[in-house]
């Protein structure tokens, strides 16, 4: 019952993608990573919504757009708890949790200014690590330096 009411806070879409359970503070980061400021499709979003599981959550609904795995990997870094729902003709077509990839390529910048990826035309590549506090860190395949959550910049 309660769940149904919450869904209605943000309008339903007929076709497209719903990204649910985004940590509230990262909704705009997800916006940026998916280039939603440049899309010509209808986009609805809500943030600081109540969530039984996570306290506060965000949700984004994008009409007539579906995403490839590599794009979803991007989201996993800032919204590891997110659920991805494909909507076709108002029905849930598929529903998956995003998973944190073991390695990522070409998504984030290495924060080391003297890394070869910041000096030459080289695509970035990282191993994704989790520290003692459960925070994600990126270990650069090239310079071997670690980029922490607060230093992460995405392309």
């Amino acid at each position: 019952m309660n769940k149904k009411r919450k869904e209605l806070i943000v309008s339903a879409i007929s076709n497209g993608t719903v990204i649910d359970h985004i940590p509230a503070e990262n909704v705009f980061q997800v916006f940026k990573m998916l280039d939603l400021d440049k899309t010509s499709h209808q986009v609805y979003f809500g943030t600081n919504l109540e969530s039984k599981k996570y306290g506060r959550k965000g949700i984004i609904k994008i009409s007539d757009t579906y995403y490839k795995d590599e794009v979803i990997n991007k989201i996993a870094l800032v919204a590891p708890t997110a659920t991805l729902i494909e909507i076709r003709d108002y029905e849930v077509f598929s529903k998956v949790s995003v998973s944190i990839p073991q390695t990522i390529e070409g998504i984030a910048k290495c924060f080391n200014p003297n890394c070869v990826t910041n000096k030459e035309d080289v695509k970035t590549k990282f191993e994704v690590l989790t520290d003692e506090n459960g925070q994600l860190k990126l270990a650069c395949h090239y310079c071997e330096k670690t980029t922490t959550r607060k230093n992460m910049v995405f392309f």
Partner: protein, 302 residues
């Protein structure tokens, strides 16, 4: 190991490290062997490093190989704006192996991915310098008779010293007890400590040098650089706290040896040089044998 690049000490397993050290012992007994006849090895020093370059080039020439390359990037097409990739592709056409030193971190890994011949990293910025690490391990094993179960003390700049990082990572494979002596500002980074923890080994951190000297089998000294301190006063406070003087070795173990990657400035007092426990000059000589072992292995001639 044949035809495989060596970019980071992490690229080699414990057994592979031991294989190189065993072979280096053979070369120490007989450094002049005509194993590389007709081979061309490129020595690309995009950043000058006289000691490392001469050590590599000596190793190659004693094995009968030919060296091409440059000692600094200034007189090459790099100064015209050529990309690293283009330089490497071009040189890989002429040579059987590339030894490179470059000021940019990760450059050697990238070169190993674009080159059709193997790369030996002779230092990439503040990142890795695996042949220095191998020669340090060789020196430790030679002076202690083993690499296992030693008390190894690292002193000075543990934060930025890449040789310290590589050595800690490599020694984590050998059940080492680590003693880490540094000012608070220059402690070993957590990314390096991770390797000690993953190997379930112990480490202790100290700000006082004296108490750890009697426990040590190896004392590895490093230089504390002025430019690491934003406040010059802070540098003045710590710079004399980590100077090793001969008198301080009075209660040290008979088997202890003092290592230093060189160049030294004032962190080892010259009165230590005559002490048989000083090993830093022999340590530098060992570099030639270790590099011969490495090159012979990668070229598949040993």
């Amino acid at each position: 190991m044949k035809n495989r690049s060596l970019v980071s000490i992490n690229d080699y397993s414990k057994d592979e490290i031991i294989r190189i050290l065993d072979l280096a012992e053979e070369f120490e007994k007989q450094p002049r062997q005509n194993l590389l006849d007709g081979r061309v090895i490129a020595s690309l020093f995009f950043e000058p490093s006289t000691r490392t370059r001469l050590s590599f080039e000596t190793a190659i020439q004693q094995l009968g190989g030919n060296v091409i390359g440059f000692a600094s990037a200034a007189s090459t097409s790099v100064s015209k704006g050529e990309s690293l990739k283009d330089t490497i592709l071009m040189v890989a056409n002429y040579s059987d192996l590339i030894v490179m030193r470059h000021p940019v971190e990760g450059s050697a890994r990238y070169a190993s991915e674009v080159s059709r011949v193997p790369i030996i990293n002779a230092g990439d910025g503040a990142n890795q310098h695996p042949t220095q690490c191998l020669l340090d391990l060789y020196s430790i094993r030679k002076t202690q008779g083993t690499l296992d179960n030693l008390d190894v003390t690292f002193v000075g700049d543990l934060k930025y010293g890449r040789t310290v990082h590589s050595n800690v990572i490599a020694l984590s494979k050998f059940n080492t007890r680590f003693h880490l002596v540094s000012p608070d500002e220059l402690k070993l980074p957590s990314a390096v400590k991770r390797h000690i923890k993953e190997a379930k080994l112990n480490y202790e951190q100290y700000t006082d040098f004296m108490e750890v000297i009697p426990k040590s089998d190896i004392i590895y000294m490093t230089r504390i650089q002025r430019e690491r301190f934003p406040d010059p006063l802070e540098y003045e406070k710590v710079k004399n706290a980590y100077i090793l003087e001969n008198a301080m070795l009075e209660n040290s173990k008979p088997n202890v040896r003092i290592l230093h990657p060189l160049p030294r400035v004032n962190e080892i007092s010259t009165d230590v040089d005559a002490n048989p426990k000083a090993y830093y000059f022999q340590q530098a000589l060992n570099g030639v044998f270790v590099r011969q072992a490495l090159i012979a292995t990668i070229m598949g001639v040993k």
